[in-house]
């Protein structure tokens, strides 16, 4: 029976205990639970650990493999360091939600079949929404509901896909699929929504920066990376993913370069980095999948590190925009150094974790003779250095002096950052410690002279470009528009503009749109009612209490219809 208990359950218990526990006991729960989970993760042997009957299916709550343990390990590590970072600042319900959210992610890692996977998947969606809400501002609340709708939509799409696969094949096994029919496409779409793939990438940069400084550290780690894991498990070598991944890579860079809010820069660069992994899953060779897994491992660490340093800055200064910050290195040396290490790692600078993992993906593309993929990924590496590697630390810690002299990070936050910074360098210096845990055996020498020189050139030139173009890169007070703006504002506007341009031909199109909009509003009021209608006021047609006569009429109509249908048959 203990075989059937997923390590995720430890985290769930911890999440429930956080509320009642007080003081030092709570701290102990926060710090020990992830470590116990980590231990439990390494006790899970390979293969399916037995089945349980749920509904009429034999579900497999726990299945181990090298890949699953790798992801679960980094998740548990993330919870530990995140808990250390957050425990003095965050409120208990935010921590409880974050732990439950992490439990969902770890549960997905060990899910042996699609149903268990879906259960944990929704657990993640639910509690990550709560983490967003814990931002506590009206903007966080609004972003939270958009986030929730997007993820519940992703959830139902995934659910339909799973049920479709279940009905057509009779199996709920997790096994490599190809997107060939309606159900598998639905599964793929459901997962890609969580991976922040186009056209819905915007949810990520919309929601994560609205969470609290501590909340966004947790958010940065789990949702997209579980999506990557599930893609590796379900859709290795699915060609669609290469295109999707490349789009995400470019999208993330462009928007991160345009962005002014520091956490939004980091959020867009998550999309960019996940794009690398999605692309690697699409390539689908053993080397590529190793690259995706290794890169996810490294990415969680340096991205959390960057979010932590951004969190410290926001916590100490209360400012979130590049234009309002600058010159903080004077009083925040620890944060600055940790941030630079994270920034170098995300830019895959030699001797950091990004270098030893991302180069696996590029090599996989090169081995498959995918010239365009290789070129784009390489160019993107330079772009990453521009936006996350230089831009973020430069504008926050150097640049002009903003006059602020905030204190450096509190001890626990500093400790958390130092742990992750050390890991970034450790994985960069000694990648041979990570490689044995990758899903497939690997013979790879990260540091050859040619490669190091090549990457250094790439990075130094893009760094040069940054400083030459600095006047152009100066952050203005902008709020960049994202794809979600398209569906929220631009589509109506374009329709209006377009029709204005073609005046004589489409003269009524603009007015049609306006009248359509007015009509739908009027329809809502007339038929459904308004949210604040009191009892006595006018109500919508369907919300109104119809007179008895109207119902009598309906009765007559339905009875006649019933008999009539019969006679026509």
């Amino acid at each position: 029976m203990p075989d059937l208990l997923s390590p995720a359950l430890i985290m769930i218990v911890a999440a429930m205990a956080i509320g009642p526990a007080k003081g030092h006991l709570r701290t102990a729960v926060l710090l020990l639970a992830p470590l116990i989970t980590l231990w439990a993760i390494w006790q899970v042997p390979d293969g399916v650990q037995g089945t349980v009957k749920f509904l009429s299916y034999n579900v497999e709550p726990v299945e181990g493999s090298a890949l699953r343990r790798l992801f679960a390990t980094v998740f548990a590590l993330m919870v530990f360091v995140g808990g250390l970072y957050a425990f003095r600042l965050a409120r208990w319900y935010e921590l409880a939600a974050a732990y439950a959210y992490a439990a969902g992610a770890i549960g997905v890692c060990f899910a042996g079949d699609l149903i268990v996977l879906f259960l944990y998947w929704e657990l993640m969606a639910l509690f990550s929404t709560v983490v967003v809400w814990c931002g506590g501002t009206p903007a966080a609340r609004a972003a939270g509901i958009r986030y929730a709708i997007m993820h519940l939509l992703g959830g139902v799409v995934l659910k339909v896909g799973i049920e479709g696969v279940l009905i057509s094949t009779g199996s709920i096994e997790i096994r490599p699929l190809l997107a060939t029919d309606f159900s598998t496409w639905m599964i793929l779409c459901g997962i890609l929504i969580n991976a922040a793939a186009p056209p819905v990438s915007a949810w990520l940069a919309d929601a994560y920066p609205e969470a609290s400084p501590t909340g966004s550290v947790f958010l940065s780690a789990f949702t997209t990376k579980t999506a990557v894991l599930v893609l590796i498990l379900l859709f290795p070598g699915e060609p669609v993913l290469i295109g999707v991944g490349l789009f995400m890579v470019v999208y993330g860079i462009v928007y991160a370069l345009l962005e002014n809010d520091i956490r939004r820069i980091l959020a867009y660069s998550i999309v960019n980095q996940v794009g690398f992994m999605v692309c690697a899953v699409g390539i689908g060779t053993e080397l590529a999948l190793n690259g995706a897994a290794a890169h996810a491992f490294a990415h969680i660490i340096y991205k959390a590190l960057l979010f932590m340093s951004a969190g410290v800055v926001i916590y100490r200064t209360g400012k979130t925009r590049c234009t309002e910050l600058g010159g903080l290195y004077r009083t925040m040396p620890v944060t600055t150094i940790c941030c630079i290490i994270g920034a170098l790692a995300i830019s895959s600078f030699p001797l950091t974790s990004g270098f030893t993992t991302k180069s696996l993906i590029s090599l996989a593309a090169a081995n498959e003779q995918m010239v365009w993929v290789y070129m784009t990924l390489t160019a993107a590496s330079a772009g990453v250095f521009l936006h996350a590697g230089i831009k973020f630390p430069w504008f926050v810690f150097f640049q002009r002096d903003s006059g602020m002299r905030p204190k450096d990070a509190p001890w626990n936050m500093a400790a958390a950052m130092i742990i992750f910074a050390a890991l970034c360098i450790l994985l960069g210096v000694a990648p041979q410690w990570l490689y044995p845990f990758l899903p497939y055996p690997i013979e790879y020498e990260a540091y050859t002279a040619g490669k190091v020189v090549f990457y250094l050139q790439l990075l130094l030139f893009s760094g040069l470009a940054f400083f030459i173009l600095l006047p152009l890169m100066k952050r203005t007070e902008t709020i960049s528009l994202d794809v979600d703006w398209l569906w929220r504002r631009a589509a109506p506007w374009l329709l209006q503009q377009g029709s204005r341009g073609l005046q004589p031909l489409l003269v009524f199109s603009a007015s049609t749109w306006q009248s359509l909009e007015a009509l739908s509003k009027r329809m809502a009021v007339n038929y459904l009612g308004q949210p604040e209608t009191a009892d006595s006021e006018e109500r919508g047609l369907f919300a109104r209490s119809w007179p008895i006569g109207a119902t009598a009429l309906w009765i007559a109509i339905l009875l006649s219809a019933y008999v009539f249908i019969y006679y026509t048959d």
Partner: protein, 501 residues
Amino acid sequence: MDLTPHLPALQVVVPMLAAPLIVLLKPRGLAWAGATAVAMLSFCIAIAMTIDVLQGKVFTYQMGGWAAPYGIELSVDAFSAVLLLVVSGAGALGMLAAHASVDQQIELERQPLFYSAWLLAMAGLIGIVVSADAFNIFVFMEISSLASYVLIAGGPDRRALPSVFKYLIMGTIGATFYLIGVGLVYMMTGTLNLADMEVRIQEVTELNPLLVAAGFITIGLALKAAVFPLHVWLPNAYTHAPHMVTMFLAACGTKVAIYVLIRFDFLVFQSALPGHSTQFASFLMPLAILGIVVASAVAVFEGHLKRLLGTSSVAQIGYIVLGASFLSAAGLSASVTHIFNHALAKGGLFLAVACLACHYRDLRLSQLAGAAKTMPWTAAALVICGLSLIGVPGTAGFISKWLLINAAMAQDNYSVLLVAVILLSSLMAVAYVWRIVETLYFGSTDNVAADGATDIIREAPLPLLLVTWLVALANIGFGFFPQLPISLSSGAASVLLGQLP
């Protein structure tokens, strides 16, 4: 003496005979205690029978020892067991929780009458479920309806009177239609016993009266069950009824009518009338879909908490009818499971509403802003039941939505449309449940006229809160261990489909 064979009779007789006695218990609290004891006993009987039914037993009982076609027969199979659990469970748990809420809403001297009417409504609903005889179903339907009119009008809200009048008129039309239908069938077959009817109806050659009978019975019961667009009596009746009554009726009132509708149609008409099954499906499926979409949309825009939940009930009834209209074992068992699970979710929600009503007289959403701060436990229970209503994994609601989507995808025609409808309405459910959560947790408390301060914790009375949490936890429990409703509902499906070729 072994009481087991007599359980079907006791199930009805105990609450029915206790009802008049309760009226005599004048001293304060005694009527409640007596009624609770009776309701709990009735729940225990239902559980005892369910245990036997789960082992494959079917109870049949001849009243007074008179043999079936002539005497009155009672029977309990898997399908009835689900309904018995729901009705007696809602009645018993409601009674257990009711004391504080009823004290608040109903004058002391009328309380014994109220409790007595409660037991009568319960006895009536139970009677409908256990009767194996078309005419007795009508009699019990009248008993339960009359008692529930009294219950709904029994509260302090004067607006309940016009609502209950409308309910009364429509309920009477519904019952009359049912009776006309039964009369027509009796004319052609000469029997009222359902099992006997099934056999004799095969020999009927003139089918037109049967066809009209099917029309009358379907429409009459659809009216009672609040199937769209015959649902108009429901939101107002639920809104203005005393809170505990709303909870009781929302959990089981309409479902019993659906039970009769499904049972009558599958057991009697589908075997006798050629092509009737397609007729049943093509008539009810559009109504179910319209009900799901329109009622969910209305609920999204509704501003009164009780009417919002009542409107959502119309949508949920749509799910139940939709499952039945698939005419497949998967669809029927999804439907029956949803009867059970929706009773849990909606019952829990209305219990939480009753908790809220202890401190908030006005249940418009705008007046409930920030209620989670004063009543954190109530709000948390409401969120759990709300998640179950949406169908989030780990709750009971997930199970029935899962089964329903499964059944829809196995349909040959329209499966994509059906799935789209279920998904769309799930998202609308997210929207209206979200509006409640948003108000409770994030609403600004500036314009709220609660009784007393809005920043200290003042929870509902403990018994009410405990029962609310019991139901909320049951929502989670049946989400992880759905064996009971599933095995009963698949039993029900095979009973119903056993009659079809």
